[in-house]
């Protein structure tokens, strides 16, 4: 596969960002109330949305990606503690890394504080990782 120019990549990533932001907002993933109701199982719509998405993506990869090697993430000592920290943060802010941005787009300005926190958290992990941990996190490109 040919490599795309940076301009082409801006265009494609921009298109996906636009559609993803729109979809996440319409689904209700950017609403703290909706996300909290999913976590306490009082409204299962978001849970079905996510489970359905995983199922359909699986079918899609089977149909379109047969014979391709898609990079997989390794399991390493950071997988479990990292997931615990992320889960706690998700419950406190209603935000996974994409959501804080969508929330600000919807006018929920308090999410700017979440965004600052995320920036600091990512920066802090990079400092700590370089000095203490030595495993490969295999984070997505």
């Amino acid at each position: 596969m040919k490599t795309r120019s940076t301009l082409e990549q801006h265009f494609i990533y921009g298109l996906f960002g636009l559609v993803l932001g729109f979809a996440l907002s319409r689904i209700g993933f950017a609403s703290y109330s909706q996300v909290h109701r999913m976590f306490v199982f009082s409204d299962l719509r978001l849970l079905y949305t996510f489970a359905g998405a995983v199922g359909l993506t699986m079918a899609g990869f089977m149909a379109f990606a047969r014979g391709h090697r898609i990079p997989t993430k390794p399991f390493h000592p950071g997988t479990i503690p990292g997931s615990i920290l992320f889960g706690a943060g998700w419950a406190l802010t209603g935000s996974c890394p994409a959501i804080a941005i969508v929330q600000i787009g919807e006018g929920q300005l308090a999410a700017a504080f979440t965004l600052l926190g995320i920036l600091f958290g990512v920066w802090a992990y990079r400092q700590v990782h370089a000095q203490i941990f030595h495993w490969d996190t295999g984070s997505c490109e």
Binding site: R26, Y32, I80, F86, L92, A98, G107, Q108
Partner: protein
Amino acid sequence: MLNYWPWWLGSLALAAITIGFWLLLRRPLGVSGSWARIVGWREARAVARAEAPFRVNAAAMGDALLAATLAEFGEQATFQSLSTSGAGAASPSRAMAPSSRTHWTVHLTFLGTMLLGGFIASTSNGTFALRFDLGSVYTQLFGSGWHSWLLLMLGGGLVGFGTQMAGGCTSGHGLSGCSRLVPASLIATSIFFATAVGVSFLAQVMAR
């Protein structure tokens, strides 16, 4: 107020995005990676600068590797190993070729257009409203004002630190990983989901 998409429409959209992303870019969708690339932009610039001469002249890479090998192991050991292992021992392997990573500003575009997507979605159905809280449920659980903002910053810190440590988030582990039954992703997703459930119930009990 409740004009959210039904679950199946949301599933279809998310799946189409995840698969489309891979088909067009041959890269699994993952948002936390974009954060890492943006925060680490200085590092990316340093790598690009260091690699610049090798992009122009691939042979320079072999020379540089040979020079480094000489400096590390001395002349005798180096040429002994070269003669025993055959030609090409010091030539750059494919893995060492200059990286073709996406420029960090592309990730900035990705996150920026996501904000625009949220703006378009909320203005087009009339839910857009500038406000300094996250809605009634959040205020009920955590109050409002500066201490709730402080909590958001702390929570955001956990999200940033945790997703980098775990090597992915809802999109990378949850969608891209789980749909291909990647063991690390299945473990990560069930753990961050279970923790969020636990903390949410705890917040509910403590707010009473």
